[in-house]
Each structure stands twice: as structure tokens, then as C-alpha cells.
């Protein structure tokens, strides 16, 4: 028994009692079950296990605090609709927005943020972290932190371009199919069925083995593989909206096609489309990361998270967590986007029902 263990339990039990006193049921249950779990874990794993719990709890508390503050910030800074929406947003959504914002800043300003160039060899291979190298060096002696920051530009940028291309192809195809109908609609539907019946990773591997690995090829291949999802959604959404009474009314008023798409169809299909864009981005991003991890994505020396994991994977067997940073960066962004998408989907379904 030392001061840390005594303080740890005193704090937990004290906090549980306070929660119970103020009749806060959820907080009490959470704190007290944490105390009970700590008893068991503490007996099995000793003091170090308690430290792990403390660090975890601290990280979670930090995330919750950041999300809460960021939500308040957005409510105050935001305008009109957005500010109103943020007031009711769950904490996970504002956490997602915060992470996405951070990545965007890292991607846009990477040359300013990164202390070294992405391909610059500055020290010996696998040099440990010190005050100059925040996360140590990689297998060639390049700064891990700088490469992570540049990766935000390269990996996320590529995924974003591929998603936008897939979205444009799918959305235009879907709108054309919904408005023309007939054999063209049928034909496009069947093509989409075939593409979707092959697993995307396998399809990507097949196409990349033929066309080789280059950034342009990669973007086009991924766009082709993921446009069918958008196609189906756009076709369904547009098909549903087109038959509504208010479209009929607008037609009778004598409005043109462009007005219908811009002022009637799009505002009524933005929520599912934005949510789909987010989801699509996650799929594309994970596929890009997976391909890079397999050595078939962005080629070195360009900094890219997937290949960084692959190149530094040997460190894992020495108990180093370095390869987990790029992998974690991928996971964190996908989780963040998913949180926001979840909120969007909930909002769009809530508005409908």
C-alpha cells in the first residue's frame, strides 16, 4: 500500500458517495462499478494495472471535456441552423468534428507544422524519441512525427479525391438513371449489381495487378469500386423525391429542370447524401490504408500511414508502440467520421419520422 493506491480508492469512493448524495444514479453506478472493477484488477494486476486504469480514465475524461468545450464553442461561434443543431448534438458528434478539424489543419498546414521534411533522413534508423524527435525515427531515420503530419495530407487527401470522384460518378449516374429510366436505367442497375457482388478489396487487388500502382490508377480504381453505392442511394432518393406533390406543384408553376434539382430535390436529399459521403469516405479511406499496408498503395518515399505501419511493423516484436501511431491515426479519423455520420443519420431519420 502506498499513497497512490490509497489516494486512488479514496478518490473513487469519495466521488461515488458524492454522486449518491446528489441522487445522480448514472454517475454513481459508473463510479462505483469502476471501484469494484479496480478491486479485482488491482488484486490481479497490481499497482501498474491501477495506473493503466487511471491513464485510461484520464484520457476519456480529457476527450469528454474537449468535446463538451468544443460543442459549446461551436454553438456560440456557429450561425443559424448549425448553431441550433449543435445544441442537441451528442458529445460523440462534437468529438468527431473536433478530430476532423484537427486533421484538416494538419493536412493543410503540414509543411509549417512538421519540423522536418517527409523524406528527410536526419538520424540513425529507429532512433528513440527525445525532445527533437517527438515520436522517434522510422526504419530509415526519418522523423516519425513529421511523416505522420505529412501523412494527413497524402493519405487523407488521396482518399478525399477518390471519394469525391466516386461520389460525382455515382450521383450523376443515379440522377440520369432516375430521370431517364428505361433500358439505360436497367443496364446501369445490372452493371452496379455485378460490381457490388465482388468484394471491394479483391476487386481492387485484381485491377491493381493489371494496371500497376500509381496514384492516378489508384484513385480511378477506387472511384469505380465505390461509385455503385452512391449510384443506388442517389437513384433511390431522387426517385422518391421526384414523385412528391411539391415537385408536381413546382412543375405546374412552370419551373425548369435546373430549378427543380437545385431548390426542390437537393434540399430534400442533402441529409442522406452527406451521411453517405461520410460513410463512403470511411470505406475508401480504409481501403486506401489497407492497400498501402499491403504495399500496393502510395509508393515511398511519400509519407503514408498505411505503408508507415508496414515499414515499422518489426518494432512491434520489441514491444515498441511506434507502428501503432500511424495505424491509430487511421482508426481515429474513421471513428471520428463515423461519429459525425451517426449523428447525421439520426437527425435525418428523426426529421422523417
Amino acid at each position: 500500500m502506498n499513497y497512490f493506491v490509497i489516494g486512488y480508492y479514496a478518490l473513487l469512493i469519495g466521488a461515488s458517495c458524492t454522486a449518491a448524495h446528489f441522487q445522480s444514479r448514472k454517475a454513481f453506478l459508473l463510479l462505483f462499478s469502476l471501484t469494484l472493477v479496480s478491486f479485482i484488477v488491482g488484486i490481479v494486476g497490481g499497482e501498474s494495472a491501477l495506473w493503466t486504469i487511471t491513464v485510461f480514465a484520464g484520457v476519456i475524461a480529457l476527450c469528454v471535456g474537449t468535446s463538451f468545450a468544443f460543442r459549446e464553442f461551436l454553438v456560440i461561434v456557429g450561425w443559424g441552423e448549425f448553431s441550433k443543431a449543435m445544441k442537441t448534438a451528442p458529445l460523440t458528434a462534437s468529438f468527431g468534428l473536433f478530430i476532423i478539424g484537427t486533421y484538416a489543419i494538419a493536412g493543410v498546414f503540414s509543411p509549417i507544422i512538421a519540423p522536418y521534411g517527409e523524406a528527410e533522413i536526419i538520424t540513425s534508423a529507429f532512433a528513440p524519441a527525445d525532445e527533437n524527435l517527438l515520436l522517434g525515427a522510422d526504419q530509415l531515420g526519418r522523423d516519425m512525427f513529421s511523416r505522420l503530419v505529412y501523412g494527413a495530407r497524402n493519405t487523407v487527401g488521396l482518399a478525399l479525391v477518390a471519394t469525391i470522384l466516386a461520389f460525382l460518378m455515382g450521383a450523376i449516374g443515379g440522377l440520369v438513371a432516375a430521370t431517364t429510366g428505361g433500358w439505360l436505367d436497367q443496364f446501369m442497375g445490372r452493371v452496379v449489381d455485378v460490381i457490388m457482388s465482388v468484394p471491394s478489396l479483391i476487386f481492387a487487388l485484381l485491377l491493381l495487378s493489371i494496371f500497376g500502382t500509381g496514384v492516378t490508377v489508384l484513385i480511378i480504381v477506387i472511384a469505380i469500386i465505390y461509385s455503385p453505392r452512391v449510384f443506388r442511394l442517389t437513384r433511390a432518393v431522387a426517385g422518391n423525391v421526384v414523385v412528391m406533390d411539391f415537385i408536381e406543384a413546382a412543375r405546374l408553376r412552370g419551373e425548369g429542370m435546373w430549378y427543380l434539382v437545385r431548390r426542390e430535390i437537393l434540399p430534400n436529399s442533402t441529409a442522406p447524401l452527406i451521411a453517405e459521403f461520410g460513410l463512403e469516405f470511411c470505406f475508401v479511406f480504409l481501403l486506401v490504408a489497407g492497400l498501402s499496408f499491403l504495399g500496393l498503395g502510395i509508393q515511398p518515399p511519400t509519407a503514408d500511414w498505411g505503408s508507415m505501419v508496414r515499414e515499422n511493423a518489426t518494432l512491434i516484436s520489441f514491444g515498441e508502440i511506434t507502428p501503432l501511431f500511424p495505424a491509430g491515426a487511421i482508426a481515429l479519423l474513421t471513428v471520428a467520421v463515423n461519429f459525425v455520420v451517426d449523428w447525421m443519420l439520426f437527425r435525418s431519420s428523426g426529421l422523417k419520422g
Binding site: L206, S317, G319, A327, V335
Partner: protein, 318 residues
Amino acid sequence: MGGVLTIVLKRLGLGLFTLFIISVLIFGAVELLPGDIAEAVLGQGATKENVQAMREALGLDKAAPVRYFEWLAGAVTGNFGVSLISQSPVTEVIAPRFANTLFLASYAAVIAVPIAILLGVVVALFRDTLFDRVANVLTLTSISSPEFFLGYVLILYLGVKTGMFPSIATLNDNMTFLELLHRTFLPALTMVLVVVAHMMRMTRASIIALLASPYIEMARLKGTPGWKVIVKHALPNAWAPIINVVALNLAYLITGVVLVEVVFVYPGIGQLLVDAVTKRDFPVVQACCLIFAATFILLNLAADVGAILTNPRLRHPK
């Protein structure tokens, strides 16, 4: 029952047709190569005689449709040609590795399916509580993480730091079954984490959609006990979506295995495919892609047929 049989047969026919189209696609994709296979593999430094010799060896002088049907006939009888790199028959290379992959996938499925369905039902019953929210965040995190992230985290904490499980899943012939299970536990666990998350969310969604329907409300109002509502009223209608969920996730397992195999250096078909893609060994790539696509389509087909067979409305037509 006649109606059901026709629906099932139609679905089977459609599945076979899709498979045929995909085989054309896989074969045709290689035809898209600039030049042909011989030029692509031998590179620019090759002499004309070398390229010509390889063309003859591969039978490239015949027209593409003829070669396609030869390839397809071979594939149906289990002959996928000869590997360009190792010169050994593709089937011999693939067969043991495909067995390994199936073993890993079924290992993961045996663990994942019961856990996922049980947890999905529990989460659906406790929906909108703190437990549900935490489960939601956890499953979302697990789905969003790339497989290699989960894999390396497991290797670091369960493999290297505590030494409970081996972090590299190499196999040899004289291993007992228990050793095999122990050796392949980490790759299986990685896939279990992803698949359980997917299945839990889908099961939860389908059960919640069911519990909101009027006949459940009716059963509750007439005083049926809670468990009976679930077992007698909800479950018969929930089988279709649940079978669907299981089959879709098994299909995912078969393909999601590629990244996991590379992380754990597991001798499966996914790793073989990645190697073949890097070396541009086209017969192997084609065979692997066809096997993956066929498994994927078969499982999707099984999902559809299962949904039809368990649908009470289709089994007892009016």
C-alpha cells in the same frame, strides 16, 4: 411449397449468372493489359524469341473467347493453369492455403456468431441506456479501425508484453489441434472483434425494428410474459434478418482475412493473392479472385435463400 421452390431456384440461377459475368470480368481484366501477358511479365528487355516462346507456352495465339472457355472449363474442373513464377500448377499451390483460410474463418465464426447474436439481443432489449451507448461507441470504434491496427494492438499486448499467445501464426504439419487453436488465436480474435461489432449492430437494428411493430405491442397488451414475446412472437420473424446478418458477415470474414493474414504471416489464400499481385503472377491472381468472388456470392446466396425459407409468410402462402 411450389412458390418457395421457384423463388429459390430463380435466386440460384441469378447467382450462377452473376458468377459467370464475374468470371468474364476477371478473365477480361487481364486482357486489358497493354500488349499481352507475355510482354507484361517479361518486360521491355525481353527478346522477341523469348516473348514468342512464352506466348506459345501460354496458348496466347488463340482468340480471347476460345481461351476464356478453355480457362473456364479448367476452372470448373479444378485446373487453373500454371503459375508464371513458380511454374507449378496453381491448384496445388492454392488448395492447402485455401483450407488454412477456411479453418481461420470458421474458427473466428464459431466464436463470433453466438457472442454477437446474444449481445445484439441484449443491447436491443436495453436500448437507450448507458450500456447501449457504451456498446454503440465500442462497436463503432471496432468497425472503424483497420484490421491491421487491431491486429498489432493484440500482438503488442497479448503477444509481446504478456507472452500469452504467439504473435506469428506460422503452421507446421505435426501440430496437435489444440496447438493449432492456440497458435491461430490472435488472428482469429482480430477478426472476431470486427465481425462481432458488425453483427451486433445489425442484430440490434433488426430486433429493434421488430419490437416496434404493432403485433408485438398487441402481444404485450394481452399480457404475454416478456420472454414469451421474444421467443414466440419476435424470433420467428427475426430469423430472416439474423440469418442474413450471419451470412453477410461470414462473407466478410472470407475477404477480410486478407489483411489479417498478412499481419500475422498466416499461410492462407489472402497472403498468396497479395504476393501474386506484387509479382504480377496472373494465373494465381485470377484463380484467387475467382475463389473469393465465388465464396462471397455463395454466402450472399445462402443469406437470401435462408431468408426466404425462414419467412413464415412465404412458407405458409394464403
